[in-house]
């Protein structure tokens, strides 16, 4: 690109690679006929962050990531990456981006090495560095021994690792991973998580879509919860839990309680769930509420156990969207 197409940040702040966000999405929408896949979404992802897009299948995560990478045209709104407008400086952005699409997009008929070699050539990695980079990446993703094997002989986890290695080959500043551990076994998932965490140590910005909340919690500095194409919440996992979860009082009774409605009527009670002899009460005021719960339930029988804990992200998600993540 002959001219710099970076945009000034709002407020006329001068552009530089240090102070611009890695990704800035403003009022982004995508329509497919009558279906609104992404609905006026705005996000700002800082450099060096691991940022998660969380939502159920069909929530608009992949559509959002496709618009961010320039694979899909937004109906409205803008996307800037490292200060570059995606549609004005597509070529410059492609050099900055490393992508691991959900379906890996590997050429399965050829070897791992041939895949990486092709990637190196089309991404313009200098010839003198090509061999060393490929060796390093294969080493990183523990596939050196299988470098000459056709990708179609690889397991799902190996393919994901190779796709990740390929994304890193041209040393991008920003990596996006669409459902990076979908369909891989627990061991491979752990290995991929480790690779992703090493990216942060290298100062890379990582954008992940996932519908595994444990993955989001383990990896992400911040995450955005998306539902029906809309941004429901964005914050660190801890803040999300504090902000939207409150506390959970778990009570085990000797016999199934008949006091559920009375519990719901107590001041400060959010949700009450009953599963046999187990009661789960969500509240923001556990300190005040615990004595009242004990008092109420002990009138009808023995309380075997009571505990107060932080909510998990699944519960936050349920509270925010009204449905479990994988409904």
């Amino acid at each position: 690109m002959g001219q710099d197409t970076r945009q000034s940040a709002p407020g006329g702040r001068p552009s530089s690679t240090e102070d611009v966000p890695a990704i800035e999405v403003l009022d982004l929408s995508k329509q497919f006929g009558a279906l609104t896949a992404v609905d006026h979404l705005s996000l700002r992802i800082e450099q060096g962050e691991i940022f998660g897009l969380v939502g159920p299948n069909g929530s608009g995560k992949t559509t959002t990531i496709n618009m961010i990478s320039g694979l899909s045209e937004p109906t409205s709104g803008t996307v800037t990456i490292m200060g570059y407008n995606v549609h004005l400086a597509a070529m410059a952005i492609r050099k900055l981006l490393g992508s691991v699409p959900q379906e890996t997009a590997l050429y399965e008929e050829i070897s791992a090495q041939a895949n990486l070699s092709f990637h190196a050539d089309v991404f313009g990695i200098p010839r003198g560095q090509k061999r060393a980079r490929i060796d390093a990446v294969l080493e990183l993703v523990s596939l050196s021994a299988r470098r000459n094997d056709r990708v179609r002989t690889f397991s799902g986890g190996m393919k994901r690792r190779l796709a990740l290695g390929r994304a890193l080959l041209h040393d991008p500043q920003l990596i996006y991973l669409d459902e990076p551990t979908l369909g891989v076994d627990i061991q491979a998932r752990r290995a991929i998580w480790d690779y992703i965490l090493t990216l942060k140590e290298q100062g890379k910005t990582t954008l992940i879509t996932t519908n595994y909340l444990e993955e989001a919690q383990a990896l992400c500095d911040r995450l955005a919860i998306i539902d029906h194409g809309r941004l429901v919440a964005v914050d660190t996992p801890e803040h999300l839990k504090q902000q939207y979860g409150g506390s959970v009082i778990e009570v085990e009774t000797a016999a199934p309680s008949t006091a559920v409605e009375r519990l719901r009527a107590l001041p400060g009670v959010g949700e009450v769930e009953q599963e046999g002899v187990l009661l789960k009460i969500t509240t923001r005021e556990s300190g005040v509420l615990v004595p009242q719960v004990i008092s109420l339930l002990s009138q009808e029988g023995e309380i075997r156990d009571i505990a107060v804990r932080e909510p998990n992200l699944d519960e936050v998600f349920l509270r925010l969207t009204g449905s479990a993540l994988r409904d």
Partner: protein, 374 residues
């Protein structure tokens, strides 16, 4: 200057990497052997067999008289270019006709020579299996013609009217050599469309298109790379087809250099069109149906059986809108030295080059505007 050279080097690297990757993939797939080699050669052989089988009417002659005049009539029938003759006795001939293996049984009676010698009327019995009007009419036209030819040979003083023929070309070209060259163009077309189209559509079917769309590489360079890969892969089948035509069918090229140049140019245009088609339809199965669906009408439309100038004006106008016509013009000149288009060979070359440039530009544009489904 250095930066221009660097840019050129980058582009060439992208083109070659894409071509090499596509070739590696194609060579690992069994379907490539079918698409790349067997299919075009099969088309060539099948079409030629169809032409060979359909061009002359199988006819049995029962020679009840084997005298000189009877032999001369048999020879005249043989020169009529309408019969595929064989001799049989009356019973065998009847059985062949009944079985539907022959179109006609011609019986030369036992007194043929005697009656001809005495200028007496002779009845040559003809039994026709008139199931097929085309063959039936061939027999009805060719037998009286054979009798006239026989008389012109045996009694030249009786047949006083004779044509004074002046030929434009030094030698006649048989129907089969003419048709075979046209069929080769169609076979290159099918092979090129399928080879290149499959490579383009495969990217969408296997969703590897994201790797290409996310690469910082000009889309035209990617498409040219794909075309180069398909071109190099198709060369094998082209060599085999030329070997079949020259070595087996026995068509000797009038201009060897033109044969090579025209064939490569024709391959390039159909490879470019195949890449465009594959990028548009994005599915290999649909592409295969489309390629064959396009090839068949163009085969009949574009002067495959004879010069297009012999066809009605409307057909000529339509034919000139398609590259197949110009491809046939070039190949017929290269093999037979025919000039089928009055505007000259240069026009045909320019039109084909124009089609190629257009197809490359459109293929790049379509890929440039391509986005993923979600």
């Amino acid at each position: 200057m250095v930066s221009m050279l660097q840019r050129l080097d980058t582009l060439l690297r992208i083109i070659w990497a894409t071509a090499r990757k596509d070739m590696l993939i194609a060579l690992s797939e069994r379907v490539f052997t079918i698409v790349g080699v067997f299919l075009p050669v099969n088309v060539l052989i099948l079409m030629s067999l169809f032409a060979l089988g359909g061009s002359q009417a199988p006819t049995v002659v029962v020679m009840q008289d084997t005298g000189l005049y009877a032999q001369q009539l048999y020879a005249a029938m043989g020169h009529a270019h309408s019969f595929r003759l064989e001799r049989a006795d009356r019973a065998s001939a009847a059985a062949l006709l009944k079985a539907g293996d022959v179109v006609a049984v011609v019986t030369i009676p036992s007194d043929f020579d005697a009656r001809v010698a005495q200028s007496q009327p002779v009845q040559v019995d003809v039994q026709i299996n008139n199931l097929n009007t085309d063959f039936t009419n061939d027999i009805r036209r060719a037998l009286p013609l054979s009798i006239t030819s026989f008389y012109a040979g045996a009694f030249p003083h009786l047949v006083t009217v004779s044509p004074q023929e002046v030929d434009r070309y030094r030698t006649d070209t048989d129907y089969i050599p003419y048709l075979t060259v046209s069929v080769m163009v169609i076979a290159i077309m099918i092979g090129g469309l399928l080879q290149a189209g499959t490579a383009a559509a495969r990217e969408w079917e296997h969703e590897t298109i994201k790797e290409l769309l996310l690469a910082p590489a000009p889309r035209w360079a990617v498409q040219v790379g794909k075309m180069l890969g398909a071109f190099l892969l198709s060369l094998g089948s082209v060599v085999i087809m030329l070997a079949v035509i020259i070595g087996i069918v026995g068509v000797r090229p009038a201009h060897w250099g033109e044969v090579i140049g025209s064939t490569l140019l024709i391959l390039v245009i159909f490879i470019a069109l195949g890449t465009l088609l594959g990028t548009l339809v994005k599915q290999r199965q649909a592409l295969a149906v489309l390629a064959i669906g396009i090839a068949l009408p163009l085969f009949f439309l574009s002067g495959a059986f004879g010069p297009i100038s012999f066809d009605p004006l409307a057909v000529q106008v339509i034919a000139r809108a398609f590259p197949v016509y110009y491809a046939i013009v070039l190949e017929q000149h290269a093999f037979h030295d025919f000039t089928l288009d009055p505007s000259g060979l240069t026009t045909s070359v320019l039109v084909l080059c124009g089609y190629t440039a257009l197809a490359v530009a459109l293929a790049a544009l379509v890929l440039r505007r391509s986005t993923v489904r979600h």
